[in-house]
Amino acid sequence: MATTTKTRAAAKPAARRKASSPAPPPRDEVPLLEWISAAVGLVCALVAIGFVGWDAVFGVRSPPAVEVRLVEVTPTPHGFVAQIEAINHGGSPAAQVAIEGVLSGQGEPETAEATLDYIPEQSRADGGLVFEHDPRAGKLTLRAKGFADPS
């Protein structure tokens, strides 16, 4: 790494001068900052490897299980916007999650759809569905219809 090279380069002229003397003394000390940065690096490496390793060995591998919840309904001039959040309770990520909302109780059932790009396991993604009628007045059924395996 470039980090010590500078120090070594700085130490070189001194070393060369000393080479002419009969007994070359031992090399100069490693600077404190070098120990500190190496320690920080060690912590980073241990965190990364520890976490990933723990997950690789003990992680649960169940299929995605996506729950869809209604957050809020906002009337707009272009329809009623129902903001939703999808939570993946399963043990593996899901991509291109198709969300469907069916609004019934006001004559014809009305269907709205959205696709959420990516929901990692135990995580949340937000989206929205747009209805012509007010979802608060009828019965709104939300569910995830399908997903793709990411990679």
Partner: protein, 271 residues
Amino acid sequence: MHANAAYGRALARAFGGALLFSFPLLMTMEMWSLGMAVERMRLLVFLLLSLPMLLGLSYYAGFEPTFRLKDEVLDALAAFGVGFLLSAALLAVFGVLGAHGLSLRADLGKVALCAVPGAIGALVAGKQLGEGAPSARERERAGTLGEIFLMAVGALFLAFNVAPTEEMILIAYQMAPPQTLLLMALSVLLLHVFVYRLGFPGESRRREAGGPLRTFVAFTAPGYGVALVVSLYLLWTFGRTNGVAPHEIATMTIVLAFPAALGAATARLVV
């Protein structure tokens, strides 16, 4: 105190090198999704392999002809720290982290995956940012194994920039067998020409002993072999080979081996 100041400057240079090499990857969408989606076992293997690789790299990219294990270990660890912290900071700035609720696991995967190219960049920063060429003695140090190792790192260095992208798969799908063979021939030819004909700075150890044929056998062929192995390993790590027909895997590997071969040929330029 003076040594600390010098080391601080070198550390800043390392951050610069890490930034220069890893920002294209940090700004690549596939790196984020792969960080989340890559099989944890494969990511673990990748991280565990990266540490000895950084150790070897710090040995060859270092200045002194002597091998002091303590120095190399400290360098390699600090390099990983630089890559890790830089990735975490930049991904946070880009709004990539915490984008999906509270999934620490996904965020850590992204940062860990991006940390490795950053760490390589940090280690070769001295060379990249004009710290001067290593001494002739240092260059003679690399034996056959060392050359192979450096070619592998060079291949990884360049291939990593495009390996995560969807385009590798797309290009492989678009290519017919004749084109695949042509690309293979082109890769080998370029590798050979780069090493043997073009005297790049830092590439002064051109293997001219015994003429072109000997160079081909001693350097070009193993170099392309290394490029193929590195490419296949990267594709496997990123899960690109899952459920794919063997001939498609071969085509993908040859596509990725093109940048990898260029990296192997110019390893001495960057490392």
